[in-house]
Symmetry: D2
Subunit: 216 residues, 4 copies
């Protein structure tokens, strides 16, 4: 039995819910193919504490696959993040009131880590299933990127964690009602998407070639 | 028994489906409150023919409420259209190859008609139900606006048609997969939305005051 | 000597300047072709008062061409407005604290008036000069549309006012600095644009055919 | 005498001009403070060749400050790029017909390099001058990011190159005319911006703290 870890975030920035946690909690107690029990956890939207909690979860569960999920308010698609960068630069304070500006996450860490998920295969598979998705070249500089970097920094020295990465998801429709003009995605679509993503991660040995790059 | 007429459009612009027809067809044979049987129809995406078909449907069914629905590819919300303008100005040819530019729809018609749906009450009710919606000040200048104007021109001289208007809806998720970066809305959310809209139209005698205007 | 009237607006919504006034004031005391003296005026960003002032200016100067100009914060191009609608629906209070919602501008006026400027010829001429421009189907529902409707309502009963219309312009660069992520246009470009627009209005007898419509 | 190197790109993607080269060519033969002669060069929009040419220029001129500039069609502001990533992923072929997908730029290079320009001080200084600017977390995955990564890879082993980075600029107005709905910036504003950027790079020893981060 090789566990899978899925994390979502607590609500932040005046929201009362976070779509990442709403979708992740639907996977509680599930087991894929009778072989991969899913562990779920909610991370606080706090620099530092979020990564401390994540490392504890990684040590406790020893998963071979980890997907951390976060809210990307305003984005219309599921964003498979390509790269985590070694900097915190908060536009607004986090849930603990911290607002780091241009601070290094890991003092001796590299400038960035690439996701080890099969990001192109995921995008292709989601689109084949009728779910809008794309590769994203930036997970921002807030707690989402902070956790993504922390996850990959851990993965870099723990080879049993074979695949790890971060996925941004849109607002839920009820959230978008409070932000006129913004895109949203239904919870059912998000749940189906996460299920398809897990399947792709487990079945796809190597990533595929698919042009999803951006000119700038 | 007072019929309600709902129309959607045929696919256009290289699409293989049109969300307006996908949602409208789900209402076939339904009756609201045992009193309002719903008639549905698909209009062709063709200047002229669409309105000729619509007038025939109006004369045949004598509905008291008509909602025409169209695809607004790229918009993230349900758009309750406020005003139809008396001009065809096609950016691309319609399904019959016609591309009118700056042509008047009704030769002696006024420059515009306002929707007679309770547009603000609809927006408020949808948002209360967690469905992103907004008032739109322009239905464009393509076949959607053409049909909207044709509908209101008919309503203007047929007082039995008490309420009539036009609603734009986003791409379905499977359509957005072919247009990376665009917003979408699930068919289940759209069906729920249309149901809520019909309820509001039947229950809301007068429209409410709700600020949804735009500065420009 | 047949006067031309150009109006801009006072700053509003926490701005300290309004690009419409900044560009209009550059045309003070100018005369085109030794025949068309330009009159300029600043209108207050206030429902009611703006139109009262405008009518007074129209009666005083008896212009044959009037172009009212307003700020469209966030739009990237010069917008030649096509249609003014008979409704005030304010998202924010005006400079006098008024916030009308869904109020008719002219009680017995039509739902809308079309601009009598050669809107397509203007767009083509501006683009030929390398200045980004487009036709817009909505001037919003705030003071800009209010003035645009008031102008066309007056023109409708005063045939000496041969051409009248409304043009929205982007933020100035210094304004966009306070709204990260928004587009802007330099004052020199705006001045050149307004000059080209005036030339087109004086030289172009009939409007041209140019596809600039929108699907929605 | 310590040279400064500025590079722009050749036109690509059906454009007949590239704003980066239009602005850079204006700095030919200039000398800042009688101490920093400016060298300029146009790089081809070709993977591989662009970096080969850049390295040759770096070896020839031994500059202490290098700013490479590229076109970001559609972006409304001047983008000071924060990070270059070690991947080529071309959405369209380059000018030589190459379209690499998910290829590493430097085989043993790190996942990313950070710019060594004072990116926050530049943004603040430009905004103080009324020029819209922001920090960008992604230079894309096309030739711009390719050159940015190549530049920083060189800088990493050549300490005499004290400051190096990449800046994306909007379309010129005449380009935006061909892409209705897109933002632009005048060449005069761009020239002023580049001048201000150079001043900031020469005068600002350490970067400042300024919150410009993004949540995602």
């Amino acid at each position: 039995m090789t566990p899978i870890l899925l994390t979502g975030f607590a609500p932040f920035d005046h929201e009362t819910m976070n779509p990442s946690w709403e979708v992740v909690r639907r996977f509680q107690h599930r087991v894929i193919d009778e072989e991969y029990p899913i562990q779920i956890a909610q991370l606080p939207c706090e620099f530092g504490t979020a990564n401390a909690n994540l490392v504890q979860l990684l040590q406790q569960h020893q998963p071979s696959l980890v997907i951390c999920i976060g809210q990307a308010g305003g984005r219309p698609e599921i964003s498979i993040e390509r790269v985590a960068i070694n900097v915190d630069d908060a536009r607004i304070p986090d849930n603990a009131g911290q607002q780091p500006i241009d601070q290094t996450i890991a003092l001796n860490g590299p400038a960035a880590y690439f996701s080890t998920l099969p990001i192109k295969a995921i995008v292709k598979h989601l689109r084949d299933q009728g779910i809008p998705a794309n590769v994203s070249q930036s997970a921002g500089t807030y707690v989402c990127n902070h956790v993504f970097y922390g996850l990959m920094h851990y993965a870099n020295t723990h080879p049993t964690l074979k695949r790890a990465g971060f996925i941004h998801i849109p607002y839920l429709p009820e959230q978008a009602c409070l932000h006129p003009g913004t895109a949203s995605m239904s919870l059912d679509t998000l749940e189906n998407a996460l299920w398809q993503i897990l399947q792709t991660c487990l079945e796809q040995e190597k990533d595929i070639r698919l042009s999803t790059g951006t000119i700038c």
